[in-house]
Amino acid sequence: MPPKAAKSPSPASAAPSAQTQPTTLPRKASADLLSTNDSQGATDNAIIENAAAATKSRKLAYPLPAGISPTTINNTQSLLRFIILALICGAAIGSRLFAVIRFESVIHEFDPWFNFRASKVLVNEGFYEFWNWFDPTAWYPLGRTVGTTLYPGLMVTSGLIWHALRLINMPVDIRNVCVLLAPGFAGLTAWATYLFTTEMSTPSAGLLAAAFIGIAPGYISRSVAGSYDNEAIAIFLLMSSFYFWIKALKTGSSLWGMVTALFYGWMVAAWGGYVFITNMIPLHAFVLILMGRFNNRLYTAYSSWYVIGTIASMQVPFVEFLPIRTSEHMAALGVFGLLQLIAFVETVRRLVPGKQFQLLLRAFVVAVFIVSFAALVVLTFSGWIAPFAGRFYSLWDTGYAKVHMPIIASVSEHQPTAWPSFFFDLEMLIFFFPAGVFWCFKELRDEQVFIIIYATLSAYFAGVMVRLMLVITPVVCVSAAIAFSKLLEAYIDPVVPESEDEIEEATSSQPMSKAKAKKIAAAAAQKDKVEFSFTGILGGGKGTKGIFGLDTRFAVVSILSLFLFLFVFHCTWVTSTAYSSPSVVLASRNPDGSQNIIDDFREAYYWIRQNTEKDAVVMSWWDYGYQIAGMADRPTLVDNNTWNNTHIATVGKAMSSNEDVAYPILRKHDVDYVLVIFGGLLGYSGDDINKFLWMVRIAQGVWPDEVQEINYFTQRGEYAVDDRATPTMKNSLMYKMSYYRFHELFGGHPAQDRVRGQQIPATGIQLDTLDEAFTSENWIVRIYKVKKEDPIGREHKAVTAWEGGKKLRKSASSTVAAGGGNKGRPSM
């Protein structure tokens, strides 16, 4: 043990350096002492050299290799960081491949099928054809001008990759590019998150953040292989834009501002969630202004981002003039204006001193702000600026969508988030998240303010919509990584402070707000000799117990390591069980444990593809529109691009009405086949009967007199499909199509619906206007053919009765009139 008197720099002399460079000191300490811990990083040579010079003799908790030159340390660190980052990328990609290995290289779910189809058009027919693509098979007969109603970023990205691969003589199927795009970009996201976090904190925190984002289920849920959706590349773009924004803000360089704008432009082209960046950056700038941190760096960064970014975003056909016409974009414009005003005022103030003049200027700023805000309000109300979109309102009032827009509320990913899903998607990160935010408050430089704002906003949004879980995941990873690395740094740092008295002495002479920095500074400054001795229980001596003891360190570090192991274990388990199902192919376990693949969807879609006319119109609930278009290649009435509520309501009405009402609707829309999803036999809960109430609600929104939700519930308010079901329910087209001939499967035994757990009445369901055309192996997909009008003019009910052997006792018209009544002209 070194004598206590042997300390050279006094606490007083260490204090100023701690004040001037409060954040570099921990780095310094870690840089030279913790070279064994590969997740710790260094800054630059100068600091290391300084630190090396300062640490001649110190008390250490454990031995360190001596005699290694700072350059070697630095190079090793760089190499290790690179290798670790590469491994993290590999892990991020690898953990997303469950679906490909278990099933096959297949596009998942619903929206990806459309993106895949669009990518094929782009690759096969070129960019201009893609841009001008009019799809007559979608939203039949309205059609969809696809090129100008989608975010092309995703398809263009994969198209470019496809072309690049062909250029180097690697002819890859576009499907494989699409399937593997999300994992590939997940690797890039890890890299971008590393850079972003490094800007916020240390490179070691950056590596942790990269590792977290790489395998966090909250992000994996949207980016497994085959999940070819906008979010697959959007999170990478989000993190890159933020990174470059911070970079631009720190350097005050318009070059970085422009790079931010370019990534922002790419983001706009890729995902509707770009509005988050559009509001996040102005909010950050605005808060900085309020904090009195306006400076030329902020001005340059923001102005170059806003101007170039807005012009870039307006190049996307789908966005076009939205940045200057909608409320969502007004914040960015407002802050841009505000910055100009403040810059102007600052310039004038610098040139013309004088209190009165300043007052005048301030009044001018306030006046301009009020006038422009009033102009904004007037423009909004006069219709020049569109008010917030419906989805946006539902962010503020969670009940809004259910009342006003059932179509939005009906989407499962628009539901409010359940509490357990935070833990499910983020595991321990959600607990470290506030700690990280706390650390940001501690330091509170410009970039930490960004994290705080981001955390606050996204925490709210993630609570409102399940889908926005994706937005909170990056900030949770970054924030948790900061907290985690602070903890690790504190406990792995081998430096042991001399005595409590001196530390107290050192701390008491400093203002309390810098306590942490001082503590470390004092500890570092006291060392003048590197010396190792056992501490804690092993040391046995007095004064070696407490948090600096090796046992305490070991306990804390091992618990943290256990957390990390559990996190990896949890993430892998969640990814494997919850997020790797393609949903077009289902898997179940046989009694003997072997896997049973349920491939009903593709079976049915290929049946349609091979057995129906090329222009046969298939009606289904909108969930399956993209899949039918993608796999069956047939026109559909409605699809997952839910732009026309009335058209969807029409389908909802047809499904929820009886045959007499539904048939004219089907004929008017030239429907040839009706497709329903029925899970009652297998216990597949995502079937149409479970979605049925949404169809009713959406139809009711348009035809409140004809469709009423109350009629589908029993008197006791239950949603029943068994004997208790109401006549309206039993006569609805959806009910009939789902349970048609269902009881025959059970050979006289009561028919059991395994999803609802109810017994289906054995009385046969009679379908007059539809013919059963196809039912898949496990009855998940049932397809019905719409009958044409009877050639000799009978009602369909009469035809069914006639074919069933029933004889007419009176002619069809005799009940209406004595005869010869007016003959309506039948439609085509």
Binding site: Y128, W131, N132, F134, P136, Y140, P141, L142, G143, T145, T148, N296, P317, D615, P635, K668, H669, K788, E789, D790, P791, I792, G793, R794, A798, W802, E803, K807, L808, R809, K810, S811, A812, S813, S814, V816, A817, A818, G819, G820, G821, N822, K823, G824, R825, P826, M828
Partner: protein
């Protein structure tokens, strides 16, 4: 089904009767189902007239098991005559269900009925929305019947009882020809089935009743109930005697309330009416016209061709741009029989066809005008020229021509109307000059400003550096 029958017809004709060629547009194989009580020889003139027109008749009884109308999905006959009103049972191949199935596959049918209709036949007829009066009641007209015949042999004036304006069902000569003898026939009421066409109805003075003197007791009962509890008496125009039905698929079905109408007894004979005038009956002409129509000889129109193209082009496009000038043309041909008795297609000239350009609802409805300058191989050309609506979507060119007695003309062709391509918009617009000027002036001013800034900054380099340090 029909095209194949159409193709087959010449071969069948060749194989059987080389001398006679078909005149029907669909085929000449006729199955005649006669119940045993109907004597074939009583109708020899009718059969002869059919054979003369090129039809090949096959006679069967209702219970014949080998009388398959459709075999292995192929129609075995093109037309069917059923004269078995009182037959109690039919072989499965001739059951009502089989007959309707055969009609679905394109077999035209002519039913001869009588007051002795069995209940099962009545039920069958109800499927066509025809309600027949009570059994054993017939049409009676005390004022108009051939002299020497009972009141149930009604003599119907061709001018008042035959329904005119039914396309080509009846020829003008028949409509103004001799009276039609309707011997002991039944009466039906046609329902609201839109495919039904009334061809012959009763006269004002005729009514439905039993053609016998009531016995004393019966008269007493009749008096006491005062006609109550009976079916309402149908008479006049509401009492249909001969009806026709053309299905959606243009299969034709005829219902003749009295089989005796076609018998030799009244075929081309002269009769004396109650006024004592001698007139030649119109039965032969009526039956001939009616069977011609039923067997697709008259009133048949086919769509030879339909096409659409953009102004200046000839080929149809799958996609038209908004406001394109589109021409739609339709070639229609009418079937007729040549003087040497063969089937042929000729021009079909009308002036009331219209075209709908529709997406859910018609966006454009315009007249299809005959293009006399066009010289098609066969038929007449109708064309319409219009501008595509300013609305994108999948549109249909729909022509529906629906006139009684004519084949229903229905055609629907899909084509999309799409917005302008990215490079099809006008590049420079006069109205946008203020914006162009604003853009250009801003750019120039910015360049000037940059130039000034750079040159000024060069001069004040020292000052700027100082300022930076101060910061």
């Amino acid at each position: 089904m029909r095209p194949s029958a159409f193709l087959l017809a010449p071969f069948v004709g060749l194989a059987t009767l080389l001398s006679v060629s078909a005149r029907s547009s669909t085929g000449d194989r006729v199955l005649v189902v006669l119940e045993p009580s109907v004597k074939k020889d009583d109708y020899s003139k009718f059969w002869a007239s059919l054979q003369e027109r090129g039809f090949e008749l096959t006679f069967k009884e209702p219970k014949d098991r080998d009388a398959n109308l459709v075999k292995y999905g192929e129609t075995q006959y093109d037309h069917l005559i059923v004269y078995a009103p009182s037959a109690k049972s039919f072989s499965p191949s001739l059951s009502p269900k089989s007959i309707i199935q055969a009609q679905y596959s394109g077999i035209n049918t002519l039913f001869f009925l009588s007051p002795e209709l069995t209940e099962s036949t009545r039920e069958f007829m109800r499927e066509y929305d025809l309600e027949f009066v009570d059994p054993s009641t017939t049409l009676i007209d005390a004022f108009s019947h051939p002299s020497g015949s009972p009141a149930s042999t009604v003599l119907l004036s061709s001018t008042s009882s035959l329904v005119p304006n039914n396309g080509e069902i009846l020829s003008p000569s028949t409509l103004s020809g001799g009276p039609i003898v309707y011997p002991s026939g039944t009466v039906h009421v046609a329902g609201q089935n839109p495919y039904l066409v009334d061809v012959l109805h009763a006269s004002k003075t005729s009514y439905v009743g039993q053609d016998k003197a009531l016995s004393g007791d019966e008269a007493e009962v009749e008096k006491s109930i005062g006609g109550k509890g009976k079916e309402p008496v149908v008479s006049g125009k509401k009492a249909s005697l001969v009806s026709a039905l053309q299905s959606r698929d243009n299969v034709r079905i005829g219902f003749v309330g009295s089989g005796g109408l076609a018998s030799d007894e009244w075929w081309g004979k002269s009769v004396q009416n109650t006024d004592g005038k001698t007139l030649e009956t119109g039965n032969a002409a009526f039956i001939t016209d009616f069977t011609k129509w039923i067997f697709q000889e008259t009133g048949v129109v086919k769509i030879v061709d339909s096409t659409h193209f953009r102004e200046g082009e000839v080929e149809p496009r799958e996609m038209y741009t908004k406001k394109d000038e589109i021409t739609y043309s339709l070639t229609l041909a009418k079937h007729y029989t040549t003087s040497n008795g063969t089937s042929a297609w000729g021009p079909f000239e009308v002036d009331d066809i219209q075209l709908d350009f529709t997406m859910l609802d018609p966006h454009i409805r315009t007249a299809l005008v005959q293009d006399k300058s066009a010289t098609p191989e066969v038929g007449s050309v109708y064309a319409a020229k219009f501008n595509a609506p300013d609305r994108h979507g999948v549109f249909k060119f729909v022509v529906e021509y629906w006139r009684p007695g004519w084949t229903y003309i229905r055609t629907s062709t899909k084509a999309s109307v799409v917005p302008l391509r990215h490079d099809e918009y006008p590049r420079f617009i006069t109205g946008a000059w203020p914006y162009y000027i604003a853009t250009i002036s801003t750019s120039i001013t910015f360049l000037l400003f940059c130039g000034l800034w750079v040159s000024l900054a060069e001069q004040d380099k020292k000052k700027v550096n100082k300022g930076k340090k101060a910061e």
